[in-house]
């Protein structure tokens, strides 16, 4: 039976919260008793395994559908499984779907592609969504229907899913993103029906029996009692059974926002002509590369750029800001870029962001150094303090890197990728791309890397769905 006091002390060590007195108590126990040390290892083992298991779980609602290499050798199998289900479902639905009044088992209408922390206990990423009632007690989920409609639903909510193109919203708030092929998608409420005319729109059921709706893009037909009206982009409407619909200005905060790919935030990730490349350590501002000695290259040593006409060539393990005495201890040639999150945080306060960075690496046939790596690290504060933040490890909010080793075949580029759930308090991110020496044996006065390249670096950021603010 584990000692409960010792259990708590070890847990406090693992959580970084030991007080001075507790630390002395824990150290005394660990030095005195083999059983205490066994208990320590048992608890510590769980700490490491929990991190691995939860990071694997975090990768499930992944950023994009682009081909990606598993991080740390762990496959994002559930993500792929969900996409596979979605694909199979689309095929199945297009062949076999019949109106909901046809007899038979519940129709499979789509797949759940996101759920936040609050909904995590009720919904599984990748679970199939069937026709029928859907209750969301709390949290926000995103459903990808097989007709390509995306529904972002915020609980508490209750829906009846009749078919992929018709639902009833009894309670809660939703955002519907309807692509052109699914035009005609309709949402019924107690106060009226909204029929999409190719659009993004939101609906919110209020506690007082009113229904608010708004169009973000395109048009929606609103039918309430005997009234029919067209709602255009940036217009809202307030409905209640038996009352005349009342148009009102769009209020974004009333509706959940769907996930959004914010695109590739990296500047000059293709290293084409004109790319700014400095050799003065970590940059103090976003939008340019800086780091150790490196240069731009076009095709050479049998290697052609992965994309375009230029690529990054790693040269030395030091930069021109470093103490020359320390140069000989360096093992990696690094280039950095700062990514400022301020604009995104201002646009959607409280939003959760996820990053997917990718890079391609290659080296010449007669080279020995075979390691490359890619890292993404999150910090709060000002991007101008990036260098100081990097040097002080305790300031890092989160970070992951992916190390790979490459073959010496100039014809093949090897990819590396990193995913990171960005902590909400992060203000900027650091991207680090580097080549690693196998042996620290090269004179720093010459070229340490004789043909090492990176190209096609991408830094895609995705905003997770955001609940309504008011």
């Amino acid at each position: 039976m584990p000692d409960p006091r010792l259990t708590l002390l070890i847990d406090r060590f693992l959580d970084g919260s030991l007080t001075h007195v507790e630390k002395i108590e824990l150290e005394t126990e660990l030095l005195a008793h083999a059983s205490a040390r066994r208990q320590f290892w048992e608890q510590a083992r769980l700490h490491g395994a929990l991190h691995e298991a939860m990071q694997l779980s975090a990768a499930q609602p992944a950023l994009s559908t682009s081909a990606a290499e598993p991080a740390f050798g762990l496959p994002f199998w559930k993500h792929y499984a969900a996409l596979f289900l979605l694909f199979v479902g689309i095929c199945y639905w297009s062949v076999f779907w019949k109106p909901a009044n046809a007899p038979g088992p519940p129709q499979q209408l789509g797949v759940l592609t996101y759920r936040d922390q609050a909904a995590a206990n009720t919904f599984e990423f990748g679970q199939m969504i069937h026709a029928g009632e859907l209750n969301i007690a709390k949290g926000t989920v995103e459903l990808s229907l097989f007709n390509a409609v995306t529904l972002t639903v915020q609980g508490p909510a209750r829906l009846d899913l009749h078919s992929p193109d018709r639902i009833t919203l009894h309670a809660g708030r939703l955002h519907a993103r309807v692509p052109t092929p699914a035009k005609g998608f309709a949402v019924s409420t107690t106060a009226g029906t909204l029929t999409d005319l190719g659009t993004d729109f939101g609906i919110s059921i209020l506690a007082d029996g009113f229904v608010e709706a708004a169009v973000f893009e395109g048009q929606v037909e609103v039918e309430s009692g005997s009234q029919i009206m067209i709602l255009n982009a940036n217009e809202g409407v307030r409905l209640k059974a038996g009352q005349v619909p009342e148009k009102q200005p769009l209020n974004n905060g009333r509706f959940p926002l769907p996930h959004e790919q914010l695109g590739n935030l990296l500047v000059d990730g293709d290293f084409e002509t004109g790319t700014q490349l400095s050799t003065y350590d970590i940059p103090a501002q976003a939008g340019r590369w800086s780091g150790d000695v490196a240069c731009l290259a076009s095709g050479e040593q049998g290697i052609t750029p992965h994309s375009g006409t230029g690529m990054l060539q790693f040269v030395n393990t030091f930069n021109h800001m470093e103490d020359p005495d320390l140069e000989a201890t360096n093992l990696a040639c690094e280039q950095w870029q700062v990514i400022d999150l301020a604009a995104f945080k201002e646009q959607t306060p409280g939003a959760q962001f996820q990053v997917h960075a990718q890079a391609q690496f290659n080296r010449a046939a007669d080279t020995v150094d075979s390691g490359f790596a890619l890292g993404v690290y999150a910090y709060d504060g000002k991007p101008s303090d990036a260098h100081a933040s990097w040097k002080k490890h305790s300031l890092r909010l989160a970070g992951h890197f992916k190390a790979i080793q490459t073959d010496a075949n100039p014809a093949t580029w090897e990819p590396a990728s990193v995913r990171l759930n960005v902590p909400r308090e992060a203000d900027f991110l650091l991207l680090r791309v580097y080549a690693v020496e196998n042996r620290q044996d090269d004179p720093v006065s010459g070229v340490e890397f004789g043909g090492h390249y990176a190209d096609s670096i991408q830094f895609n950021i995705r905003r997770a769905p955001v609940p309504a603010r008011n």
């Binding site: 490491g48 298991a53 190390a403």
Partner: protein, 179 residues
């Protein structure tokens, strides 16, 4: 530069690192519990494994060899951080490291068992575990978000881990790895 012979060997060693880095990370997290610091130590291990690849004989126990390197890197980490309030003394760390747990099986069965146990946690405990290990929040930050006291978070997290250990103990024992 050097002949072709070491290239193949070094590449194989680095491949082994990539294959075993999950197990190594878990070992490092045992003694360097902060996730970002553990990443740094793992990276140092990678650099040294690359540098000393010639010292490793293929077909011997890579995990044991890499863990020895990790142990030195962990000690170096804490020497640099010895003023940190959470730093255990070198004597304690050496004593712990001298009696390490059995090497982890390569099939990741422990993590898989753990995933099954996570699904059995009560909702609040699961949420706390996700905040701590998925979002990598420190207990103080969790307390702020949940509007709890930090002590409540420590205690609740400790209880969640106890539930998970109880669940794992109820599962059939995993055989010792051959390596």
């Amino acid at each position: 530069m050097e002949s072709d012979q070491p290239i193949s060997h070094q590449m194989q060693v680095q491949q082994l690192f990539v294959k075993h880095q999950g197990v190594l990370k878990r070992y490092i997290l045992s003694l360097v519990p902060d996730f970002a610091d553990a990443d740094d130590v793992l990276q140092q291990v990678f650099l040294t494994v690359s540098e000393k690849a010639d010292d490793y004989e293929l077909d011997t126990n890579f995990n044991a060899w890499a863990r020895t390197i990790a142990r030195y890197k962990i000690m170096n980490h804490w020497r640099r951080q010895k003023a940190a309030p959470e730093a255990l003394s070198e004597e304690v760390l050496e004593t712990l490291a001298a009696e390490p747990p059995a090497l982890e099986p390569e099939d990741n069965s422990f993590v898989h068992d753990l995933e099954a146990c996570l699904n059995q946690l009560p909702p609040t405990a699961r949420e706390l575990v996700e905040m701590r290990y998925q979002r990598e929040l420190k207990p103080g930050a969790i307390a702020d978000l949940k509007n709890w006291t930090p002590n409540s978070v420590y205690v609740a997290l400790s209880r969640a881990r106890t539930l998970l250990r109880d669940c794992l103990e109820s599962k059939p024992a995993t055989p010792e790895p051959n390596a």
